[in-house]
Symmetry: C2
Subunit: 335 residues, 2 copies
Amino acid sequence: MVTIRDVANRAGVAISTASYALNNDPRVSEETRRKVLKVVEEMNYRPNAIARSLKRKKSETIGLFLNDFGGPFFSSVIQGVEEVVSSNGYNLVACSTYGGNHNTTTNRFLQEKQLDAAIILGPNIPDELIVQVASKDFPVVVMDRELKAEHVHSVLVDNEQGAYTATRHLINLGHRKIAYLSGPVNSYNNQKRLVGFKRALEEADIAFQSAINVQGHFTEHGGYQVMKSLLMSKNVPDAIFSANDEMAIGAIQALTEAGIRVPQDVAIVGFDDIRLSSYIRPALSTIGHPKQEWGTVATHVVFQTLQDPSEQSRSIMLDTELIIRDSCGAALQST
Amino acid sequence: MVTIRDVANRAGVAISTASYALNNDPRVSEETRRKVLKVVEEMNYRPNAIARSLKRKKSETIGLFLNDFGGPFFSSVIQGVEEVVSSNGYNLVACSTYGGNHNTTTNRFLQEKQLDAAIILGPNIPDELIVQVASKDFPVVVMDRELKAEHVHSVLVDNEQGAYTATRHLINLGHRKIAYLSGPVNSYNNQKRLVGFKRALEEADIAFQSAINVQGHFTEHGGYQVMKSLLMSKNVPDAIFSANDEMAIGAIQALTEAGIRVPQDVAIVGFDDIRLSSYIRPALSTIGHPKQEWGTVATHVVFQTLQDPSEQSRSIMLDTELIIRDSCGAALQST
DNA sequence: GATTAACATCGAAACGTTTCGAACAGGCAT
DNA sequence: ATGCCTGTTCGAAACGTTTCGATGTTAATC
């Protein structure tokens, strides 16, 4: 491995001079700089980023922690993050947090100071770990929870408002018996969406029926299963608000198989606006949110804090949008 | 920041002893080890991974280079990679290679020895860079090209055979005028798929018509556009082999809009078996390949080479599978 | 011709670890 | 007493950079 010492020797200068030359320090003369750069070229020298990070106490790398690379809209979020990170001349590493507390990658990157900042979209990282690692020169942005702590910022989708809008929409279409197709009960997103759902019901004087509040684990298969059992119990609602699109798609499948028409017999609205939603039949009405922007905003917060570490903790909420397609029946009524 | 020196001081031992204690070296007595670990706990000490990497010349991290996190099946590949990496106690970082040669992340991680190995699925990383960085203690696995060089291994999908099977299938169904819906001409995947396509035609004594060899950039929109213009030119084929599913989906959209029935008027087969393919109507017949396994195999090769650096360069080819749904018309004929 | 300033270069310390070789203490056999 | 293990601990050098403070040169000023 060729080091800066080799370069310095060959160029006939001190190590420090070589280093200055490489870092465009104005002290070094144009002549020496050229000499050094020529040798660098000849020897194909590459600075060792690890040694540099050790000395500078900066890695110019920010970490994005995801619990699941396979998720349906994470790719959009990553693209947003990537865009801002690289436009700032920083590097991005994406780390999987799969595997919970014993995950070595998470602990290693988060606790062992290999990064300059972290963006978190992995609910299985505990709050305590986050507040522990966040510090003046290690800002953290969370996208999957509210967490009020020093040097921790949050960028969130307005789950509650979105769920409220979706439910409200179903109520306006004349539905009264509306089921909530729930994600994992301890999920932050699910909790907020449930709150919005309940608020809309309450406003319309509809009682919340826990019998038709069923849990589908945020997966297509879960949605399918749960819908199946709801059908068995003969407890079929007029309408369904699904806490995400995946489950809604599974539910539609189950309904269709049972000969129940969507939206004529049961109307359904989802949440997330994943790509698949506009392709299935009937096309899924849903609550959309700006996935890529979500990533860019979070990343901007990171860089602002990096530039001005005295920055206050911020909390940003992104708006959602009702997307009407076929599964809610609104298009049908209006014609 | 609390360092090992602080720990050593507080515990009343030498730095080296503290280090040995932390690394379970048998030299240190049980008593001292406990004393050190207690102090570690008290002070909440975390070793600095950067300093360790510098000294050990190992980062226990492997890098996965992707040109596009948003791709439709990359998430499956990543999951496969992640699984093997973490089961070996290593860390995974995923780096975007978006932006071509000037991409700093790529250069930095690849050239500046922050990693122990690399897996590459980003065609915009030039061959020269790969052979330059591959070395005895830095194995590289490519998944997006053939590249014969020392310390470079390849794990590939059998594009040619897959394309051959798909085309052959269309021919067997009685089609003679078959269009090739092409990806970027310089793409390795596209080239191989084209070869397989041509081989099938040749075998059946069908001339390759360059007029219906059209380029759709591997995107849905590209497939849609290209199909539109093919329809304008009145040069409509009996059947289409699309070099990937995305383009096939766009093409079906264009055909449907023009009132042309799939598969009755035009049969179509894609490549990749992305998730969407089984949801669209008509469901897309395609060539499937084991995406997650692709990742796990590549990663196994990495670890084998890491364990035995004298390992020969390997080249592994994964089989594909014809998946018959509705768009090719086979299901229709058989009933 | 002495004084100063500006410029270019250098040596050495530091970043936080790991690890080599030496040192020390105690126990045992000579 | 001497020598030699064995078990434990230690000091110091290294890893490849960056950066502080010092040093030497040269040219400009009085």
